[in-house]
């Protein structure tokens, strides 16, 4: 190698640091083995339509706290907690937060009837073909994700929530 020895050594060491650093870093900061979003991790982005046909992207809500609730008409606890969410929505209306209720891929008629019965004022989004359901790794319903203004998940609640459960978490969310 002669006089090229030092440069070659440096080049190789740099290469190792870059590639190795990338690989180890990726392993260090990778998501869990089941690839579901977890508390502290980023909430996967999505684009869904609401009942009026308007698009909503999760990333649009950065800077606001978001309560992401997954529900279906076939799930009794989902149905039971909807009025609670509505009351909470009205209560915290002045603060920078939003409730997004994503329906689990049910038909137009079912969803529309449902919303009519309940008089809900927060946006109802429609998942189709269970795509977003998979993306969030849902296994039980209802599942509610409490997302901080920076887009990371503060809490995941599986099961029906009482107004107290929701209230406490929204309060925490608004403090971040």
């Amino acid at each position: 190698m002669g006089k090229y020895r030092k440069p070659i050594q440096i080049v190789i060491m740099l290469g190792v640091l870059l590639l190795g650093g990338y690989a180890i870093g990726k392993a260090l900061f990778a998501s869990s083995e089941t690839d579901r979003p977890e508390v502290g991790g980023a909430a996967p982005n999505f684009t869904l339509l609401d009942l009026k046909g308007q698009q909503h992207q999760l990333s649009e809500y950065k800077g606001k706290a978001v309560v992401l609730n997954f529900w279906g008409s076939f799930c009794p606890p989902c149905v039971k907690e909807m009025p609670e969410f509505e009351r909470q929505y009205v209560k915290w209306k002045d603060k920078p937060f939003e409730i997004l209720a994503v329906n689990l891929s049910e038909g137009d008629l079912t969803v529309n009837n449902f919303v009519k019965d309940f008089q809900l004022s927060y946006p109802i989004l429609r998942d189709a073909n269970r795509v977003i359901e998979r993306r969030y790794g849902l296994e039980q319903y209802p599942s509610t994700f409490f997302i901080k203004p920076d887009g990371t998940i503060m809490d995941i609640f599986v099961g029906g929530m009482t107004e107290q459960d929701i209230d406490r978490r929204i309060e925490r969310l608004l403090q971040t």
């Binding site: 590639l19 690989a23 990778a30 279906g72």
Partner: protein, 544 residues
């Protein structure tokens, strides 16, 4: 203070050289009988130099074969630990299936260790070691082998592991030329310099180990590349008969045109399995589509173009551009897809229709003869909750129910409600006629005959697999094998000789198989009418 490293032949050697780069004379004092240290032909390995700076220290660490072996052993042990319990499951799985040891295993992070920072770190270190070890050794080797002197020092020749000395009567140069021609017949490359000769064979095999290492480096990089998003995908999807489902993380969609199952004949089954339905063959006639426009936009159907047709069976996946779809199972719960009911006017027996009623996304308005139907509510799996209100238990049409507002002859102008259950079992269970008692005498919605009912019988489970790094893994392994073959099946042999005043001194060296080396030398000498027993050529030392 300053060591004189100039050889008596006049060549200036770098410090720590063992044998002169030019004439081969030993530069250091060695024991009288010991054969020469021929590694790198005695040239200095630069990583052994004095006063290493920090970069040199790191370099020397990775250049050490001992360190490499230790790293490999640690990685091996680590990898073995990862096989104790299955990887990649959630915490509760380990606690439930294996108890406290499983829980401990998971807590220690061993349940997902092949992606862990320390395991990847070990692989990175092995990769670095590969690069540094090879570079540190291949360059001196190349230099040593490409600049070879024909006439070597007598001490060099007589201290090889295979040696012959003896008298030669004829003209020395002629003798050497004649021997050269014999050696050429044995496929040696021969160079002569008057009364000195260098014969060399199979130098390429020395590069074998380095090519092997290049292959391994490619393999490691390929394995690393799998962490790039979209390079490795493994997902399961369920596709109902006739349904088209997106292949996750790709722009492809797969349609299940038809799913068929064949069962073993009862006579073909062993006694203990009789009475069971054992599937013999099941396949999905699949069509793969590529989305060409409006992909992934919510509320808008993607525009699809078919790209491949294939019948997927177990172990015979549909393969298209690196995406593989495997058949891994099925579900045979039949689900109602659509019905074609008719409406009978009970007062005069007239029948109108049929009309199309699908379970998924049904129309909301229907005109059937004089009747108009307005669909107000739909339940996939109808039930009554504790308060007696209609609810649905799931999203699958296992017990579908439709609530229409009907207008027509004999019916109130504002319309009257009618509840319709397409399946007979639900009709009876929920007493459809009782619910509709006001209208039952005036009209009936019913399905005439099974031909007006369509089911989807099967749901096919497909496993999606994409592994873009696989080709590179094979390439790496192929190169690795090439290197191994080169190094293992051919051996680098060299013969030096010189005739000084009627005395022939011959020395030979090889990296493997001295037995063969001696065989070659004995044969060559025999062609020159010098009979010598092969064993006598052995000059001691550790022979491989």
């Amino acid at each position: 203070m300053f060591q004189n490293t100039k050889c008596e032949c006049g060549h200036q050697n770098p410090p720590d050289t063992l044998l002169c780069e030019s004439c081969g004379k030993p530069q250091t004092e060695i024991a009288a009988d010991a054969p020469l240290e021929m590694r790198y032909d005695g040239m200095a390995r630069r990583s052994q130099k004095r006063n290493p700076n920090p970069i040199d220290l790191v370099w020397n660490f990775f250049s050490s074969v001992k360190i490499a072996i230790i790293l490999i052993i640690i990685t091996l042990v680590g990898a073995a630990i990862g096989t104790i319990y299955p990887q990649g499951n959630r915490a509760d799985y380990y606690k439930q299936t294996y108890g406290w040891s499983g829980e401990l295993y998971h807590r220690l992070g061993l349940s997902s260790m092949y992606d862990s920072w320390w395991f990847v770190g070990l692989l990175v270190m092995i990769g670095t070691s590969l690069v540094v070890c090879s570079l540190d050794r291949v360059l001196p080797l190349y230099r040593a082998l490409s600049k070879q002197q024909i006439r070597k020092h007598l001490m060099f020749i007589t201290r090889q592991k295979t040696v012959y000395t003896g008298p030669v009567e004829d003209n020395a140069e002629q003798w050497v030329q004649e021997l050269a021609s014999h050696l050429k017949r044995r496929r040696y490359r021969v160079h002569t310099d008057g009364t000195a000769l260098l014969a060399e064979k199979n130098r390429f095999s020395r590069w074998g180990p380095y090519i092997n290492h290049i292959g391994l480096i490619i393999l490691l990089l390929a394995l690393l590349a799998r962490t790039i998003p979209d390079w490795k995908v493994e997902e399961t999807i369920a596709v109902r008969d006739g349904e088209t489902v997106q292949v996750p993380q790709t722009d492809y969609y797969v349609k299940n045109e038809k799913f068929t199952v064949e069962y073993y004949d009862q006579n073909d089954l062993p006694d203990r399995l009789k009475q069971q339905e054992r599937p013999k063959l099941y396949k999905t006639e699949a069509v793969l589509y590529k989305c060409v426009a409006t992909c992934g936009e919510p509320g808008i159907d993607p525009v699809l173009e078919p790209v491949k047709n294939y019948d997927i069976t177990v172990n015979h996946p549909l393969v298209y551009k690196g995406v593989k779809l495997y058949q891994i199972g099925y579900d045979d719960t039949p689900l109602l897809k659509a019905v074609k009911p008719v409406i009978e006017d009970k007062r005069n027996g007239q029948v109108y229709g049929p009309f199309d009623l699908t379970m998924k996304d049904p129309q909301t308005e229907y005109t059937v003869g004089p009747y108009s139907l307005s669909l107000k509510a739909q339940y996939m799996e109808f039930a009554l909750n504790d308060e007696g209100n209609p609810v649905t238990l799931s999203r699958d049409p296992k017990a579908p129910a439709f609530i229409f507002v009907v207008k027509g002859p004999g019916i109130d102008d504002a319309g009257e409600p009618y509840m319709y259950f397409p399946l007979q079992k639900d009709k009876q269970r929920f007493s459809q006629d009782l619910i509709n008692r006001d209208l039952v005498s005036k009209m009936e919605i019913r399905v005439d005959g099974m031909e007006n009912v369509s089911f989807t019988s099967y749901s096919s489970y497909l496993l999606i697999r994409v592994d873009r790094a696989l080709t590179y893994v094979w390439v790496g392994l192929g190169i690795c094998m090439l290197g191994l073959l080169m190094g293992a099946y051919w051996h680098h042999r060299r013969i030096w000789l010189r005739v000084d005043n009627g005395v022939l001194s011959l020395g030979a060296h090889t990296n493997k198989n001295y037995f063969g080396m001696r065989s070659d030398v004995a044969w060559a000498l025999q062609q020159m009418n010098i009979e010598v027993e092969k064993d006598k050529l052995d000059n001691g030392g550790y022979n491989s």
